[in-house]
């Protein structure tokens, strides 16, 4: 065993009560660190999952139609002009197969789905309810927006005249699985569909309006004649969506809107939350470091004679330095093991207590190996850094003065 380890272990064992206390203190600090990180991580993951559970990471749509001046401006002439924005017709992507292929070819894109979507009415007897017709190939849509796992009744089928309705839309119409319904649009007299499933997307706006059908049926209803209104895309790294959207815009010449742009407020809230978590973590680490440093400073004062004797017997300054740095590291490491376990237990208890009325937890904590490992490394590093000043002080002791006391 190296001499520094031998002495550090003996010194720590001799002051075991004092060390047990400071290790417990570090443990509590690390537990707070782990718990807060897991809580905020879980909360953020849950918020993002809920947000992205009903929308694509990137939505590609045609460019907005803009008015153009009728007169060509002459050089040197000033005009007073007003260009009125034209009435927006249903915008469509005609060569969507090419767009779809180009977007799919991008490495960061994991899935795409061409969509034909537009407003319509669901008619049942005398009642008429406004709906949003959403036409897409079911498996491809499911890869971008999870539909199957949200089906509450029946199953996800849009083959032929099959349709899947939002749960609240079905309630409004007073229909269920197996019932027939007519859906029409402003340009089409409509078609009769058979309700094959009811989907609960967790968002009232969607549950009250969505009518999922085949791409072909939606194209016919919306008068798109083989075109689509958008292409949805999923990316591997959600926080890269904005960059990928810019690439898509450049490649396709269309408008590509990322979830980050369409949820700017959410993103700001998440960033603020991350900043406040970082502040909490910073102050916890500072507290832990001050605790370790204060114990080691006292230890150096108490042991100055012993340090002098060791130096007189031939121990180098480096050995003395390492003895105290190791003590800091051991306190940090043991504290992080205890704190990691304590933080995990606290997270479990919180999840048992804080539950939705149906018994499910509010959200899952993000308590994984990287979090525990990072907390351990941070606490150990804080222990070593906190030990630097007392260790240097110990190493710098003049042995003659230290022995004399």
């Amino acid at each position: 065993m190296p001499i520094s380890v031998f002495m550090a272990v003996r010194f720590m064992w001799e002051q075991r009560s004092q060390n047990a206390l400071i290790i417990t203190g570090v443990g509590v600090g690390v537990a707070v660190l782990v718990f807060i990180s897991a809580l905020i991580g879980g909360l953020q993951a849950s918020l993002i999952e809920r947000t992205l559970g009903t929308q694509a990471h990137i939505i590609i749509t045609p460019l907005e139609q803009e008015g153009r001046p009728v007169l060509k401006p002459k050089a040197g002439t000033r005009y007073l002009r007003r260009i009125e924005k034209p009435v927006q017709r249903m915008r469509r992507i005609d060569e969507w197969q090419k767009v779809d292929a180009n977007v799919s070819a991008l490495g960061a894109v994991t899935a795409t789905v061409p969509i034909a979507t537009g407003p319509g009415f669901a008619l049942r007897g005398n009642s008429s309810v406004s709906v949003v017709a959403v036409g897409a190939e079911p498996n491809r849509l499911d890869a971008v927006i999870p539909i199957r796992k949200n089906i509450k009744a029946g199953h996800y089928s849009v083959a032929g005249t099959d349709v899947v309705l939002g749960t609240e839309l079905a309630d409004d119409l007073g229909i269920g699985v197996g019932d027939r319904i007519r859906i029409r649009t402003a340009t089409n007299e409509g078609q009769v569909f058979i309700v094959r499933g009811l989907v609960d997307m967790g968002v009232q706006g969607l549950n009250r309006t969505w009518a999922l059908m085949s791409l072909r049926n939606a194209q016919t209803l919306l008068g798109l004649a083989g075109s689509v209104t958008a292409v949805y895309a999923q990316v591997t790294e959600i926080y890269e969506a904005e960059t990928v959207a810019r690439d898509i815009g450049r490649v396709t010449g269309l408008t590509a809107l990322s979830w980050m742009e369409s949820n700017a407020q959410l993103l700001t809230a998440l960033k603020s939350q991350t900043a406040s978590t970082t502040m909490i973590r910073f102050f916890v680490i500072i507290t832990v470091a001050i605790g370790i440093a204060s114990v080691l400073v006292v230890s150096v004062i108490q042991r100055s004679k012993e340090i002098g004797i060791l130096r007189a017997m031939g121990a180098t300054r480096g050995v003395v330095l390492n003895v105290f740095l190791l003590q800091g590291a051991v306190v940090g490491m043991l504290g992080s093991v205890i704190g990691g376990a304590l933080g995990a237990v606290l997270a479990q208890i919180f999840q048992l207590i804080a539950r939705n009325p149906d018994g499910t937890p509010f959200f899952s904590f993000v308590l994984d190996a990287p979090l525990l490992l990072t907390s351990g490394v941070i606490a150990t590093a804080a222990g070593v850094l906190a030990a630097v000043v007392p260790a240097r002080r110990a190493a710098a002791l003049d042995p003659a003065v230290a022995i004399r006391g």
């Binding site: 065993m1 007189a312 180098t316």
Partner: protein
């Protein structure tokens, strides 16, 4: 016989806020292997300062110190530390054992320091050393569990464990009763004869000084007398 220690014009001054006090005035002396030397003198005469300079714990303001054939002023802190560990043993008035270590571990420390790590056979050597001072059965006792005399015997055994050619003892019996003093001095005398170890013993006890081979008397930082003890 070869010199284990040589001092040439060793001077030491202390600067206390601009007031310079000269504690040692050009000390010249040499100690050969196997010599048992007492350093005596009144309090404040510079005995402990001289011992610290010889022990390489304090540099002289002027003059040169040789330990064996190595000149100390030519060495940096690391070199001084190495020389101290290899060539010099220390015995202090208040034993200065490490309380966190057992008696055997205290004896092992010079060996561990020399090797840089614990090693095989060290504990056995420590127990041999303790047995030699009559404490073989107290190997696992902490210093706090030993009497003052026993603690000082452990300190003597520790100073000698790696057989240094020179041992410096600062008032080694100053804190002991007459009986324990005699035991500790006999130990040093025995090692001096059996191992040919040179001892430099700072003492106020005339009985200890009378039993040494040589007495150096220091008064006001100068060697006043150097020779055989007065009978």
């Amino acid at each position: 016989m070869a010199d284990v220690l040589r001092l040439e014009g060793v001077t030491r001054e202390f600067d206390n806020g601009g007031v310079v006090t000269r504690v040692l005035h050009g000390i010249d002396t040499r100690v050969v292997g196997g010599e048992l030397t007492a350093i005596i003198g009144p309090s404040g005469s510079g005995k402990s300062t001289l011992l610290n300079i010889i022990g390489l714990l304090m540099p002289p303001t002027d003059g040169k110190v040789w330990i064996g054939d190595e000149e100390a002023s030519a060495l940096d802190d690391r070199g001084l530390t190495r020389l101290r560990g290899q060539k010099i043993g220390f015995i202090f008035q208040f034993h200065h054992l490490v309380p966190a270590l057992s008696a055997a571990e205290n004896l092992m420390m010079p060996l561990i320091i020399e090797k840089g790590r614990t090693g095989e056979g060290m504990r056995e050597r420590a127990i041999e050393g303790l047995t030699a001072v009559g404490l073989g059965d107290r190997a696992d006792a902490r210093p706090s569990q030993l009497s003052g005399g026993q603690q000082q015997r452990v300190a003597v055994a520790r100073a000698l464990i790696n057989r240094p050619p020179l041992v410096l003892a600062d008032e080694p019996t100053g804190n002991l009763d007459t009986e324990s003093s005699a035991v500790v001095f006999d130990l040093m005398r025995r090692y001096n004869r059996e191992e040919n170890t040179a001892f430099l013993i700072v003492t106020h006890d005339p009985r200890i000084a009378a039993q040494c081979d040589r007495v150096i008397e220091i008064v006001d930082g100068r060697i006043e007398r150097d020779g055989a003890p007065e009978s």
